[in-house]
Amino acid sequence: MHGSSFGLGLRKPHYADFLEGESSVPVDFVEVISENFMVAGGKPRQILRQVRERHPVALHGVSMSVGSADGVDRDYLRRLRALVDEIEPMIVSDHLCWTRIEGFNSHDLLPLPYTEEALDIVCANIAVAQDLLGRAMLIENPSSYVAFDDAPMTEWEFLDAMSERTGCGLLLDVNNIFVSATNHGFDPHTYLAGIPADRVRQIHLAGHSRGRTMLIDTHDKPVPPAVWALYEAAITRLGPVATMIERDDDIPPLAELLDELAIARRLARGEARQAA
């Protein structure tokens, strides 16, 4: 059902576009940050309910922390389950990372060493999460700024094994592959070739910034040409996959993001990026 669908992230500057227009915004789905709507009530929940009346919704989380050595937070999962039950999302996803340990929460997507121990922990945590949520999740590859050189697995090998053991799907962030490949010096096409194509259910596209020493996953710019090129390679290998564009800072008018999404649609049809 999600194969050839194209969506955008729902962000505050575009609420009116999504809710007030006579016709729906021309997207196949919208993705929201789950935690922004895991609140007791008020306007955020009302907005999400209204958007859900117009569009399928994907819930994308940043705080599940499937990589925590001390397990997942069951209170968090129960709250997410309540949101899932209300919104009936097409996708529930989070990241291959950790954010929390022993009562400390970093609110950032921190890197994991790709070891057998970490794989066991991540798989156990995903199993608990999927059980409590009553559904399979998608797990996204993160951008990273630290690599653990003594880890025996590559990220794509880890994702493959994780997906195989837990049954979870994969959310492939093409920008994150590009950022991490540049930062850590691996070939992004080798990464793509190592990903189990049949497990990828969604693709993220975004822009990044050049920091002093590394690329930073800032989501504050249009998708750059190098990421479009990698997306083209990804869909050639994966076939039709639900694709969305993330923009979290310096957010432009919705029309600009729809223009970017049109590029993704053209590439998915096998047309050139610049074609009208």
Binding site: E35, V39, G42, K43, R45, R100, H107, A147, R212, M214
Partner: protein
Amino acid sequence: MSLLALQRDFRAWLAEESHEAAARFGDAARPGLDIYLNNYRSQLVACLSETFERVRQWLGEERFLSIAAAHIDLTPPGAWTLDAYAQGFPDSLERLFADAPEVAELGWLDLALAEAFVGPDGPALDAAALGEVDWDDAVLRIAPTLATRAFVTNAAAIWSALSAGEMPPPVKHLAETATILVWRKDLVSCFRTAEPHEADLLALAGDGATFAALCAQLIGRLGEETGVSAAGALLGRWLGEGLVVGTE
């Protein structure tokens, strides 16, 4: 290194900038660790700046950022939601500005309004059903987002002026402590200064006292005729403002 040990070292780097912990990741990791540290602190500063906008305006950007940084040094975040990180900041303001209570009061108001915005939904008031209510036995259902605090300064007036982009009044210590009420009506957070006795009556109602018991309180304070009429006026105001969302 076990995953738990690695994560403890990462926490020590982010929360305490422990160079000893950072060194265990190796020299090559340092540029990346700096990026994570910057991300961590930037997120928390952004959370405080966004939630405590009037405090930031009142203190000025530079001073606010310095206080936010000191708070972050002492108070690592614990909850899964970034919104919860704001909850400890008014206590820091109270400690740091013991001689300027308007700062903590502004902070409390910023936070209370933000929390009311996403607080629990109350039931929709059924105006038609009010005509059928037996007021002798009725218990008022108070807005679930109601929060109150005693103010010793005119911080509420300062907050309003800053919010409207106007020159705020100078700080004034009130002759008598005022109670500020914060709640959400429909989808909008609002606040006002409580009338004399009003906060006590709202607290009584919140504890399950009947409307008749509230009337008795007012009659005891104001006399029969004035008390009854004051109770009716208060009830009408509470219903109109969304402070009362129904009866039980």
